[in-house]
Symmetry: C2
Subunit: 497 residues, 2 copies
């Protein structure tokens, strides 16, 4: 249910039951509860009966179950569908109020919005003066059901998306009346660019100097339900959902099966161990999943061959960088190798091309909306993107003057630098770095057959930022145990059981 | 990577770093680490170099990176595709060994399996006696790459799915050799029916009396990677993935947007509060999500209108019944009501018809496989399923002799009884019970407009077992606060903030 009233459902608190029970015995408490229940039932009836609102045939605040406007008409017209083709048509709309403007006692204008489209609705010289008065008192962001007919004005209407039409209102019902809001969507949607010298608005004015209101993160989070209404947030959620759908569609087409590994794990089965959220599991120690790697591997070994997972991951890392997230939705896959390790890299690259194409084609409008608030450059990618060996990458960095050892992992600085060098050379923001040094990978990574200093493992980069890590796991028991024995952090005894 | 060796990856343990650091200073430890690293690198090279297996051109144990069989051929043939059409064709297969049978020193048979299909492969009078010896020593469930050509024997081969062909082996490589297994798949796949008098096998023999091996749950869980290979488990995972895909597809088609609400919550925002898993969140109290109801509601109120969620839910209920699960994947949706509450029930019913059709059409073969191990009757459902009001349901129970109050919730016993009555009357295992009594629902449920003793809420039942709960939430702030005030477990003060 949608409703714009300011009740923050997240704030519900439950009374401490222990407190209640300490006051009286359990038996008494039960008796009291039964009484309370009866009282509740009686009071509910009374409350509902008394909640008849002040509603007449043409306007008023209604509950959904009292809806008046839809009688006799089967469908709502979307604001985005309003055009001169509907001239003279009778329409009903469910919208939110953006602006209310009275002109004397005879005329009142509304600007209303729905799904990013806006239009003007007006009530002129209504015989029902109360209707005009009612409309003029509607509050910003209230949800309203409107009935009226479409007219085409002589001149296009400025400041709305549906410029060629207006709606002449006949009936107006408020479904959910908004209180005064802590910020306007206009303020929350404004573009802010940090150019080093301070925060600038979309016209390049320093926000500290201008009078423009800036909505801070804490305010946004306190009123998340409002902040989510900004066009950028609406687009971000749509993009997230679409990317997730592209992922599932691609994976299924490639023969992957979706599995749902547990998110509660035995404390011992988390790799690493230090950075997990621990919890009490009916007296046992458990932790939240960091990555479902082991379960995916078990599934592949159990004969599913190719599996994918869309799952929350939890990292108990109290770090405030753009490379750390405490909770995120991970898109993972695990596959059996048929012939050579490069099959894994192929699947990964093809997946990203699907993502980029989806963003480019299906989601370009949404991406534009996001960019209006959070400016960014379009991604450069190619039908066949650069795939460099780690050694080739290091060579590019060495030629650019960096002193780098090709048997060690890259620093964040070197990664960013490499992103720039690849962009210059290949004109692509996207690239894959293959054959990482063994020393930079976990012990269970398969060494390269041709040079065991390197491994069958890769990273995917966008603009010098690592976004995917992948590799072949050792499939030979002997080699696995040899590698584990060489790894100081692995307790061989526990492997022997 | 798939490999059948018995290393239990779930058992990896990490050495206690604190122990290490107490022995020497941090500086010394670091120095030691660096040394260790260098030693590792040297040892890795040695280990990999010494891991050259005893492989010749026609047989041997290989690592994936040494694969020999695929040279010169581009694709694997699936066992399920082997038929007389391929008579004389040269094929390569990747399969698992089901049986090995030697006949003297000149001939050896393999039964091999892949994705539920089985066939016979044989090596006859090979000039390479070592090849025959090698094949005869292959172990059950080992992964093998095979090369050979297809022959059509005079008589169909018994006991395999691909009866019209055999494969004459030329080369055999073992990719992962299985140790002796704790149980066979045949034992783990056997049907067990509890007929009250004890456990019976699929022939109706009492398992305690017969000599048949029974694989217990603890053994299955200790070797989950093996147990997952039973046909029933393979089918169950496929059904789970497919149902999830049907859900997403249906929701998207109905205009729902997938969202990913957090699974870590503020302790206060969990409804109920008592049955959550609590954890320490960087010094604050947090808990795992029980249901993402509030986030879904906020998303709808934020203008997404229709959202759906596929998310793990956690219930800290230490109960051992078939109605309780500690962790499960929940399929949820939340929608804006356009005109009347019944829209929600309509969506829910249409969704289940999609599920049933998918099970009936796409997944009937998989369902049959599951039923072979876990017998059950096909579900009875109708294009238009029974939708009863709670009062109608109670009336049916009363007529059947039960003494039931229609303003209170149904007991589990009454629910099961109602399932039977509905099946008798309507010939459907599936039904919806609508307009539950307010007393059986949370305070935020919208009362029925016509009778506030009842609510706009419903349950979906299959065979008398509730599988979905849904309802309209109160959208009027005034009514919400009135109802909260009547509810003894709600602290009104916390709502006022």
């Amino acid at each position: 249910m949608t409703a714009s009233d300011k009740v923050d459902l997240g704030e519900l608190r439950v009374q401490d039951e222990a407190q209640l029970q300490s006051k009286c015995s359990k038996k008494q408490a039960k008796k009291e509860m039964r009484k309370e229940k009866l009282r509740n039932q009686r009071n509910t009836v009374a409350a509902v009966r008394s909640s008849g609102f002040d509603v007449c045939d043409t306007f008023g605040d209604v509950r959904l179950s009292n809806l008046k406007v839809k009688s006799g008409i089967d469908f709502w017209t979307a604001v985005g569908d309003l055009s001169s083709l509907l001239d003279g048509y009778h329409v009903i709309l469910r919208t939110k109020v953006v602006k209310v403007r009275s002109k004397g006692s005879n005329i009142v204008f509304l600007v209303i919005t729905e799904n990013g489209s806006t239009t003007t609705a007006q009530c002129v010289c209504s015989e029902d003066k109360e209707l005009i008065k009612y409309i003029s008192k509607l509050t910003y962001n209230s949800a309203v059901d409107l009935e009226g007919f479409v007219v085409v004005p002589d001149r296009p209407v400025e400041g709305v998306t549906q410029k060629e039409v207006e709606v002449r209102l006949k009936r107006v019902f408020c479904v959910a009346r908004a209180d005064k809001l802590p910020f306007t969507l206009e303020d929350a949607s404004r573009c802010e660019v940090d150019r080093g010298t301070g925060l600038l608005d979309d016209l390049g004015n320093d926000l500290k100097e201008s009078k423009r209101v800036r909505v801070n993160t804490d305010t946004r989070l306190s009123y998340r339900v409002l902040d989510l209404q900004t066009p950028a947030n609406q687009a971000i959620f749509k993009i997230m959902a679409e990317i997730s759908a592209v992922f599932s569609e691609f994976m299924r087409a490639q023969g992957f099966l979706q599995i749902y590994p547990p998110e509660l794990n035995d404390l011992g089965s988390s790799k690493g161990g230090a950075r997990v959220f621990k919890l009490d599991y009916f007296g046992q120690n458990a932790c939240l999943v960091q990555s479902s790697q082991l379960h995916k591997q078990l599934a592949v070994r159990a004969g599913f061959r190719r599996v994918y997972v869309v799952q929350e991951a939890f990292r108990a890392e109290d770090s405030d960088t753009n490379r750390h997230l405490t909770e995120f939705t991970g898109l993972h896959c695990e596959m059996e190798i048929e012939d050579s390790y490069s099959e894994v890299v192929d699947v990964c690259e093809a997946l990203f091309l699907k993502f980029f194409d989806a963003l480019h084609v299906k989601l370009s409008k949404d991406l534009e909306i996001v960019r209006a608030q959070f400016p960014s450059l379009p991604l450069k990618y190619l039908p066949k993107n650069p795939r460099l060996t780690f050694e080739e990458g290091v060579k590019m960095l060495q030629e650019a003057g960096l002193n780098i050892d090709c048997t060690k992992d890259l620093s964040t600085k070197a990664e960013k630098m490499l992103g720039k060098l690849v962009l210059e050379k290949y004109d692509s923001d996207f690239f894959i770095l293959d054959r990482f040094p063994m020393a930079a990978r976990p012990f269970y990574t398969m060494p390269c057959d041709t040079d065991p200093m390197f491994s069958n493992s890769f990273d995917v980069f966008i603009r010098g930022q690592e976004i995917v890590t992948g590799g072949e796991r050792i499939s030979s028991k002997d080699l696995f145990l040899q590698r584990a024995a060489l790894s100081p952090e692995i307790d061989l005894k526990s492997l022997a059981t």
